[in-house]
């Protein structure tokens, strides 16, 4: 299958996929689903590792998406998906809370509007940030968290505390 079509298929996947973990999971789910569809069409059960959200997403991809996959090209296409996933621009973000999928979806859409069309988010958890994110973009660490703000305004905060204590 030509690379351009693979790219189009990958873009279809990316339309509703916003994080790297989500992409990796969905490509794995896609492999299971397509393999099952091609080699065990009568078998309705899928692995329990595929969650409900991804199931809905698999269904929403539509028949037009799945008709591109044959027994001969499935592995190749999926391999291309993995390679494209590695080369896709990633936005690494550290946050101090657990972001639910819907918020991740909204944030991902927002970021794609403002920065790059197929931008992927890589969300990691860092409770020390207290609030707000810290980013790594193009190898550069940008701390936008409350912890950084407290650190930057340490002297002002201490002075205010001292004023308060001396009142």
């Amino acid at each position: 299958m030509p690379t351009t079509d693979t790219k189009n298929l990958f873009e279809q996947i990316l339309e509703t996929t916003f994080t790297t973990s989500q992409l990796t999971r969905r490509i794995r789910s896609l492999r299971y689903y397509i393999t099952n569809r091609l080699y065990s069409p009568n078998k309705a059960q899928l692995p329990q590792s595929i969650n409900e959200e991804d199931l809905y997403w698999l269904v929403e991809l539509g028949e037009n998406f799945y008709k591109n996959f044959t027994k001969s090209n499935t592995n190749q296409i999926l391999e291309n998906f993995y390679n494209q996933a590695k080369s896709t621009k990633t936005f690494l973000m550290y946050i101090p809370f657990d972001m639910p999928p819907e918020e991740m979806l909204a944030l991902g859409q927002k970021l794609r509007q403002n920065y790059a069309p197929n931008l992927l988010l890589d969300i990691k958890h860092d409770p020390e940030l207290i609030g707000g994110p810290a980013l790594i973009i193009n190898g550069k660490y940008i701390d936008l968290s409350m912890r950084k703000k407290i650190e930057d305004n340490k002297n002002t905060i201490v002075a205010r505390i001292r004023e308060f204590l001396h009142q």
Partner: protein
């Protein structure tokens, strides 16, 4: 005087005895010579003659001696009287001389006494003057010494005071500096602790207090700010 006359008499007697002995010796010697030369008959005659001569000689000698004794006693008597006279005269002269000497000595002694008294008086006055001068000099020197000592003491005390003050100031400065350093260090430690406590507290509190919306608002706000400040492109 009596001692002199007795000595004189003794000498005269001795002289006369010596003279007699010499005479006897001469006679004996001649006798022996004659005896050798002369025969025995002649010898008897000679011997007789000799005896007569000898007796004459003895008589003469006795008379001489008697005269000598007489003269000697006269001389002695004269000598004694002369001696007495001389002694008396001498004694008188001696007394006179003694008197004169006594007078002279007394006069000299009195003069010496008066001179000595004058000398002592002058010495005393000189000594008094010297004592006064010495006293004055000692007083002046003592005053000068005390004045100099006072000045030196004052100067030393002043220097000590300055040095002490300087040393104390230095120590105070060091102590103040140490206190300031300690204060700054403690303040820094406290500040760090405050910030650490604040961060921990905020972490504990805000994690519970901040809602999902608050968190998401913070995330969007931070991203917007980063975009405006062109931290991310």
């Amino acid at each position: 005087m009596s001692g002199l006359s007795s000595s004189l008499l003794s000498l005269l007697l001795l002289a006369s005895n010596l003279a007699l002995l010499y005479l006897y010796w001469e006679l004996y010697r001649k006798y022996v010579e004659v005896k050798k030369k002369v025969k025995s008959t002649d010898f008897d005659q000679i011997q007789k003659q000799t005896r007569s001569i000898l007796s004459k000689a003895l008589t003469k000698a006795h008379s001489i001696i008697t005269r000598a004794q007489q003269e000697g006693s006269d001389i002695i008597h004269e000598t004694e009287s002369t001696t007495k006279t001389l002694a008396q005269h001498y004694q008188e002269e001696l007394d006179q001389i003694t008197k004169n000497l006594e007078a002279q000595i007394t006069q000299e002694v009195q003069k010496a006494e008066s001179d000595f008294a004058k000398y002592l008086g002058s010495l005393k006055s000189h000594a008094d003057a010297s004592t006064g001068q010495v006293h004055k000099y000692v007083q002046t020197r003592a005053d000068q010494t005390f004045t100099s000592l006072d000045q030196q003491l004052a100067e030393t005390v002043k220097q000590l005071h300055i040095r002490s003050a300087t040393a104390i100031e230095e120590e105070l400065k060091k102590a103040r500096q140490a206190v300031e350093t300690y204060k700054a260090e403690q303040t820094r430690v406290v500040d760090n602790n405050i910030v650490a406590i604040l961060e921990k507290t905020l972490n504990l509190v805000l994690t519970k207090k901040l809602t999902l919306k608050d968190h998401m608002d913070l995330v969007y706000e931070a991203l917007e700010k980063a975009k405006v400040e062109k931290m991310i492109s």
